[in-house]
């Protein structure tokens, strides 16, 4: 029996990694961080948990514009992940299921293969995209459908660097139908950072803290115009206005929303940011990137545009199986809003049904686990023998 396969969903912000026989993956920041307070060391991956003061955290990311370009950073992080501090075993003589972005560049694929086969000595690899793994998990999860070959679905992957709409017809990606929107978690955090810095206090250096603010307070407005009206009305304003208490890294490590009417003593000395329309205008960029001048349609229109590239016979089923994955899918209100917008865009004889899994971040990893433990996994794997013989070209001819 061969060594257990490793599944690595290598995202631009976090890597989801674990052995295929484990129940759930570890979510590890896929970057190196430097803190102002600790000048003697850097923090690789989840070492950041050891850092007491994460103010003005400096990121060195492996990904640029969503593609793996900084290989020395990536190698440092992988070295950390595949050590005792990470998942506790090395990649040597193991197979790996690894994800790459949609439309990955040829040269990046080549680098990945060389790195894994020659640096880490993997026994074989199955290179795929997180959307495909998500689709695989969707098949495994559903009760009535049992084969990948009959699957028609649309995966919306709302990631860190960008958002992809990926249609699948009869279990295969429709490459012509893939649509990319250049808005993801990173752009949202940076946008929120600018808004707070201009309106309240300068947080331009605090990507880490603002990212937490975004996770804690932002939501998607189901009716944007109505939410704006609430914001403008002095009486109703308090429905959405909140005060966010910033962390000071001595008494509190992570910021939180102040509960109205329940003042706590220690809050007197804490810095606070009042937030109101920032809460919903920031995630709104996913639905209307043109609000900040990105000349692209939002997710609902991108879905409709992707649909046009698919055979019309599949449309009914595609719209019934829309799956949303990725970290930025976790904004409250995301699903109802998308459903509402899609409903008004597609013909009314077609039903629209959306699914957002409980854990959209790890969902693709679970798919990878399913693939790695399936009976015909061997057929997917590109082995080291094949790599030694044919190099990268062998993988492309499969």
């Amino acid at each position: 029996m061969a060594n257990t396969t490793v599944v690595l969903d290598n995202g631009a912000y976090t890597a989801k990694v674990g052995l295929a026989n484990e129940d759930e993956p570890q979510v590890i920041p896929n970057c190196i961080m430097k803190a102002k307070s600790e000048r003697r060391r850097v923090f690789v991956g989840n070492q950041i948990d050891e850092c007491r003061d994460t103010s003005a955290l400096y990121y060195i990311l492996c990904f640029q514009r969503g593609y793996l370009l900084n290989w020395d950073t990536q190698k440092t992080v992988w070295d950390h992940i595949f050590s005792k501090d990470g998942i506790g075993c090395s990649l040597e003589n193991r197979s790996i299921v690894i994800t790459e972005p949609q439309m990955n560049f040829h040269s990046v694929q080549e680098a990945m293969l060389e790195m894994l086969f020659e640096e880490y000595r993997v026994a074989g690899l199955y290179k795929t995209t997180s959307a495909e793994l998500a689709a695989f998990n969707y098949v495994a999860d559903s009760e009535e459908r049992t084969t990948m070959q009959s699957l028609n679905c649309i995966i919306i992957d709302v990631g860190y660097s960008f958002t992809h709409v990926v249609p699948f017809v009869l279990g295969r990606r429709v490459l012509e139908g893939i649509r990319r929107i250049d808005v993801g978690g990173k752009a949202l955090t940076n946008h929120l950072k600018e808004l707070i810095s201009y309106r309240h206090l300068n947080v331009m250096d605090e990507s880490h803290v603002v990212n937490q603010i975004k996770e804690d307070v932002c939501f998607v407005a189901e009716d944007f115009k109505n939410a704006m009206r609430v914001h403008e009305c002095d009486k109703k304003r308090k429905e959405i206005a909140v005060d966010y208490v910033l962390p000071d890294f001595t008494t509190c490590k992570r910021g939180y929303i102040r509960m109205p009417g329940q003042p706590r003593e220690e809050e007197e000395h804490q810095q606070m940011v009042p937030l109101c329309n920032e809460r919903f205008t920031v995630p709104e960029l996913l639905f209307n990137p043109s609000d900040i001048g990105i000349q692209q349609v939002g997710i609902p229109e991108a879905v409709v545009d992707a649909l046009k590239a698919c055979p019309w016979e599949a449309h009914r089923e595609l719209l019934l199986n829309i799956l949303i994955v990725g970290g930025s899918a976790q904004f409250p209100g995301f699903l109802p809003r998308l459903k509402r917008d899609l409903r008004s865009l597609v013909p009314d004889d077609l039903e629209v049904s959306l699914i957002c899994p409980e854990d959209p971040v790890r969902y693709a990893w679970y798919g990878g686990k399913e693939v790695a433990t399936s009976v015909n996994f061997e057929e997917f794997v590109y082995t080291r023998e094949e790599y030694d013989e044919y190099g990268i070209h062998g993988l492309h001819q499969r």
């Binding site: 309106r199 000349q295 545009d305």
Partner: protein, 146 residues
């Protein structure tokens, strides 16, 4: 010459190209990983610091076929633009981009975030009322321009 005309001539007005350049810069800022400089940039590593992790055994292993991060940095040093130019797949990164919007673009006040109807005559930034315009002129308008 009347004082009003003198005033108007003094005022610098950004032309269309400059406004576009500004907008493009704002979008590029959204892609930045960090706004500030490396906090360890001025750090000089002390040579006296002993390195505990390097045992003799791991030193021997490294002499083998491992090439190290440096090798990969040297071999795959292409940046995003270069990759984009040499990409010959079909469909590719460029063709996968979502199409431009068909609906009219909404405008928001740069100061408070409300829907905006007016734009600053000098730089074209949107605002919603006189109060916001004043804030804009005091803090932003043509102040941080390159």
């Amino acid at each position: 010459m009347s004082a009003r005309i003198k005033d108007a001539e003094k005022k610098r007005v950004l032309d269309g190209a400059a406004r576009q350049r500004r907008a493009r810069k704002a979008l590029e800022a959204l892609e930045q990983d960090n706004f500030h400089d490396d906090p360890h940039a001025d750090l000089v590593m002390s040579k006296k610091l002993p390195k505990f992790q390097d045992s003799i055994k791991s030193g021997k292993e490294k002499k083998g076929k491992r090439k190290g991060a440096e090798y990969f940095r040297a071999k795959y040093r292409k940046n995003f633009q270069q990759l984009l130019e040499e990409d010959k797949q079909q469909p590719n990164y460029v063709s996968a981009a979502a199409p431009p919007p068909k609906n009219p673009v909404r405008h928001f006040c740069a100061v408070c975030g409300n829907f905006s109807q007016y734009s600053c005559t000098a730089c074209g930034t949107r605002y919603c009322r006189v109060r916001c315009l004043r804030t804009h002129q005091d803090t932003r308008c043509l102040k941080w321009t390159a």
